[in-house]
Amino acid sequence: MPASLERGAGGERAFAARLLDPDCAAPRGLRVPAGGSADRRFSVYRNNVAVGLVATLAARFPVCRRLVGDAFFDAMASLFALQSPPRSAVMSAYGEGFPAFVAEFPPACGLPYLADVARLEVALGRAYHAADAEPLGPAAFGRFPQGAWGELVVGLHPSVNLVASPHAIVSLWETNTRDATVRPVAVAQAEDALVVRPHLAAAVSVLPPGGHAFLSALATGVPLARAAEEAAARVPAFDLAANLVILFRSGVAATARIGAAPL
């Protein structure tokens, strides 16, 4: 072994450290028999890592990217990727920490809704890959005796994801997803988002008043009457009937039982 070869040269540690540091030259111990530059060759790997991670984030947060523009987003995503590289080989799960990063990212502080839009896009990705389950429709709910309605314990569909926001995140998401030319959105309007994928298509909608509190309470396993009480206590404008329509027909529910008895 050549004397110039430092201990561990060719090892992962030096290689890995330099992949995430654009200021570093190539690690020692690389050889380019064809006569090129080791730095240039190493930059292929480093560039591929950076471009790959940014592309993953761009695919998961397309609305955030459209809101701030490609250049701003890609640079912001590069910083996030360097700071928080994936911890798993399953890339569809990468980016869960991105909304928190965006919330604390000074150059984006003029867009206070951006982090919540990112949370909505995280929710969409989770819903897309969530476990499958047959949703429960109004017919199933209608079979319970009226006296038991308040005691129903509802299991939410595995794809249900809720995002509460003081900003109009669903309207922002919709126009930036569907419209070639975006329409104006009054961003100060609070919108609580429901994301659900009852079969194979994910749907995003705005919950009626108190819906976030109501569904969150149901998700903890409390019976329907108590979930309604909790929502009404937290949100004076809570609209029970509107929220029950959501519960019965949007594919939000996967199971329902009276107390401990299965459906």
Partner: protein
């Protein structure tokens, strides 16, 4: 010399297990093509998936794959196991591979001679390792663990590389041959990678193929690279971004002349084209495979 046709002895590179993948050309399965494939049922030998893209709990990817698997043989290609890595294999990731293997019964399972994870960080890229006694022992140990956990043999793919290591003491071909001999795994011969690495590192792709242990080859990969340069020297990038590059085809024929017809994948991962464009390259590879089979038959008769 190698016989021009498949050896008659049992061969771990060509298992007889469920969902056997035929010695025809196949395509990488891309979400952009799901609907058209299900609707039109194109004629091809098999589809190959990147295992990690089907590791969610449910949803559209698994639903589409289930439908497509009903109609086609499947090859499962892992890109994130880090078999060449210094650290231990990720047991949770091995379990996910095992579950996919159980659920979809792929005829082939392959991974890379590369690493992608270091101390818990996953780089989402196939990174290179030196070839020496230490790394050989490590890779063989990891392959043993994979084959034991999955209960099947795997194929190991030769990488595309942009540089070599001073710490390497064994040629890549000898390294792969020794891995196959010690672990019992088969090999996935990526002919595009052979060409890319050859050009990038100033080595003769033909000599590489002539020395390759063809009896272990259970699958071939072909793809289109991107061209760049490094101070006036050509630098080829394994971009999977175009039709199979023209210079690769003669080397594909040269490989088939030695190993006989084997399942051949057309890889196209970036700038994914219309299905018809990808399928055209699949048919082109199929024609070369038929030609090789004819030559093999002729050689056998002679």
């Amino acid at each position: 010399m190698q016989p021009p046709t498949m050896p008659p002895i049992p061969n771990p590179a060509r298992p007889n297990g469920h969902g056997r993948v035929p010695a025809r050309a196949g395509a990488g399965l891309k979400p952009e093509h799901y609907a058209e494939i299900v609707e039109t049922r194109p004629d091809l030998g098999f589809f190959e998936i990147h295992a990690e893209n089907y590791m969610g709990a449910g949803g559209p990817p698994l639903a589409w794959l289930t439908r497509i698997r009903e109609a086609y043989p499947l090859s499962l290609h892992g890109v994130g196991l880090s078999i060449g890595g210094e650290g231990p294999l990720d047991a949770a990731h091995l379990d996910r591979l095992r579950e996919l293997n159980r659920r979809f019964e792929p005829g082939l399972f392959s991974e890379h001679l590369a690493w992608s994870t270091h101390e818990g960080k996953y780089f989402n890229d196939l990174l290179p390792l030196p070839y020496n006694a230490d790394t050989l022992a490590r890779v063989v140990m990891h392959i043993d663990q994979v084959q034991t956990r999955l209960g099947r043999t795997m194929l190991l793919e030769n990488p595309a590389s942009y540089a070599e290591f001073e710490a390497s003491t064994i040629s890549e071909v000898d390294f792969l041959a020794e891995i196959a001999a010690r672990s019992g795994c088969g090999l996935l011969l990526d002919v595009s990678n052979v060409y890319i690495s050859g050009i990038n590192n100033g080595r003769d792709p033909g000599a590489y193929l002539d020395a390759f242990p063809m009896r272990h080859v259970g699958e071939i990969h072909l793809s289109g690279y991107a061209e760049d340069e490094d101070g006036g020297i050509p630098l080829l990038i394994d971009a999977h971004v175009a039709r199979v590059s023209d210079p690769v085809w003669p080397y594909y024929r040269r490989a088939l002349a030695r190993c006989g017809p084997v399942p051949t994948l057309i890889e196209w991962d970036n700038d994914v084209p219309a299905w018809a464009v990808l399928h055209a390259d699949v048919r082109r590879a199929d024609a070369v495979l038929r030609e090789a089979a004819g030559l093999s038959d002729h050689a056998r008769v002679a």
